[in-house]
Symmetry: C2
Subunit: 367 residues, 2 copies
């Protein structure tokens, strides 16, 4: 008998564990004068309860401050309503809006975001065990997964959507922006405007995004028959931009025609060093471009030529895709590709409309 149990535990003020007694659906049932299952049903969207019963239950619940226990529900339904988001600190630092976006979209689906941050891209293994423990209904991962890790998601049947990471293997779902294509576009436009000697300040080695950007650039230059670029490595921060530029000039023996930076932060660092420390006229003597279209890249002091990913749409689609998978619905697109949009700032000489001044400046002037 269950009722007896309740009375018992009241007497002991919590039989097994020391904590204070919590209000449960039994208490509500008792007060409302209905069965416990009636209470449970009253809190479920499409259950069959008469309005009268539901009203009684809700009144009693309110009186007792009753809130259903998610852990118990999770145990019973085998769904936790939790979505794991795994992201490296680096990514969060440079794309904070994406996390907000994901959080909002996940909440909109009635789920909650369990956050796992990584010191490095490849640290996923350290948190994976916790991901399993919490029985998350799905995961969105913006970090590097090994083949074994990918396989484990499949084996444990945890729906997975990769966010801007290269999905090796066929059955892996992902939203991703074509970084190589973006880099190719940038190179094409710069070449069109007469740039011949390119240089790149690369991102950190563990960033697949950076790798794609680099390979896209190198490939396109090769296709165009232009000289091989000078590539130096950076780690996505401001200092890398300035240091990278110095290294490039050192290695090349002169100022390159164009410097493509792995992200906007480095582009800004490169710009500042060029203008304030080396006295290089940008874009007159050298063009500079970045990636990501950070807020800062649009500031008056910079107006960086850069490539914007449709991050808002990507986040929304990632969550939508995950939900489809969680509901076991078939026919979901396995992966969605996006294209970056070139923002013609005033740090690179480009041909074609709108030409000078840059797109942003023109918009400002028009406003």
């Amino acid at each position: 008998m269950r009722k007896k149990t309740i009375i018992d535990s009241r007497a002991f003020s919590g039989t097994v564990n020391g904590g204070a007694r919590r209000v449960t659906s039994y208490d509500v049932a008792l007060l409302a004068g209905v069965s416990q299952s009636a209470v449970s049903r009253s809190f479920q969207p499409g259950a069959s309860v008469s309005p009268a019963t539901q009203a009684k239950v809700m009144r009693a619940a309110a009186a007792l401050d009753y809130i259903p226990n998610a852990a118990a529900r999770s145990l019973s339904t085998r769904r936790s309503n939790l979505v794991a988001v795994i992201v490296s600190n680096l990514a969060n630092r440079y794309y904070p809006q994406e996390l907000s976006e994901l959080s909002e979209q996940i909440a909109r689906q009635g789920k909650r975001l369990l956050l796992f941050t990584l010191e490095r891209e490849t640290d996923v293994g350290k948190v994976l065990c916790d991901v399993w423990q919490y029985q998350v209904d799905g995961a969105i991962v913006a970090a590097w997964l090994s083949d074994e890790q990918l396989a484990e998601f499949a084996r444990r049947e945890v729906p997975l959507v990769l966010y801007n990471r290269c999905p090796r293997g066929h059955d892996v779902h992902a939203v991703l922006c074509d970084q190589a294509e973006a880099a190719r576009l940038l190179v094409s436009r710069l070449a069109e405007a007469g740039h011949r000697q390119f240089a790149m300040i690369d991102g950190p080695g563990d960033s697949t995004t950076a790798q794609e950007r680099k390979s896209g650039m190198v490939e396109r230059l090769l296709e165009l028959g232009l000289p091989a670029p000078v590539v130096v490595s950076g780690n996505y921060d401001y200092a890398s931009g300035g240091q990278g530029l110095r290294k490039i000039i050192d290695r090349l023996g002169r100022v390159p025609d164009a410097v493509i930076c792995g992200n906007d932060i480095m582009a800004i660092g490169c710009l500042d060093t060029a203008r304030h420390l080396l006295g290089i006229q940008v874009p007159l003597n050298m063009s500079v471009a970045g990636f990501d279209a950070l807020d800062a890249s649009g500031w008056l002091s910079y107006d960086v030529t850069t490539l914007r990913q449709p991050t808002q749409k990507m986040a929304a689609d990632a969550v939508a895709m995950l939900v489809t998978l969680m509901e076991g619905r078939p026919g979901a697109a396995e992966r969605r590709r996006y294209v970056s949009c070139l923002i013609e700032g005033s740090t690179a000489r480009l041909t074609g409309a709108p030409g000078y001044p840059g797109q942003r400046q023109a918009m400002r002037a028009a406003a």
Copy 2:
């Protein structure tokens, strides 16, 4: 009998709910040839299990890919090992590193971060119900809580630490940086250097941090017997800085001696508009200062005079404080106050060492 149940559910492949059968501690026990309790104990840090038993269990667990179910544990122990972090999108946007920091510190304590993001500071009510449902062990809140909401945390006995929000009421725990004091310091130093007519570009109305910064400034000016400042409102973004400056000049009929901005982003916007659009020499004709010491404020193009909060320490202490509360240990400091550190950039004329060039420039020159 439990074993019978297992056999049954195998036969039906999940009795009640349709999902695939999961590996449970019973399966491990069966394979290892021990009782289920032995399995449970083997997975608990300080339980009394013989090495031999533990080894058998671990071998079997590995063979079956067994992972304990957090929901079941949570139900039984009444601890979820979940910490809710409630933060507004705005805050996350401008302080992404804090979230990373909190996440890391929480993980270090063996807990996990359940993220709740808010469109506005005052939207806490919308997510609170979910916070209760998930039975979080504690919460760190960087948003505005009403008295009722504060009371509800107390009533439900959910340990709470406010992050940089004014704790009304006595028994509310918090880590907070003294924003008013920081503003007072800034005003003092600027006044010392001869600035008389101050202006402020205020933050959004729902930001208590902005309110404190403003009141600190106004109070200190009053104490010093300086003219009342011109205060215009902004909303922490770049455009607000430029618009704010124009409004100030409009209202004052001239350029003020010093503009204090509610955050660095607005300070940067203000600077760019002053220099590039209005041709004002900064700091020669006008000083500009901000708050938060963003990365961007240290960039060569800006080198903003600003105030840095010890965010890393604050995040670590917030989590440490929360853990103390969760463990029911008494003697925890009820609230911890921090002081900001003035970063003497080159956008404001200040007296005293190190004088010109700004601190950052001097450091760079020395390097």
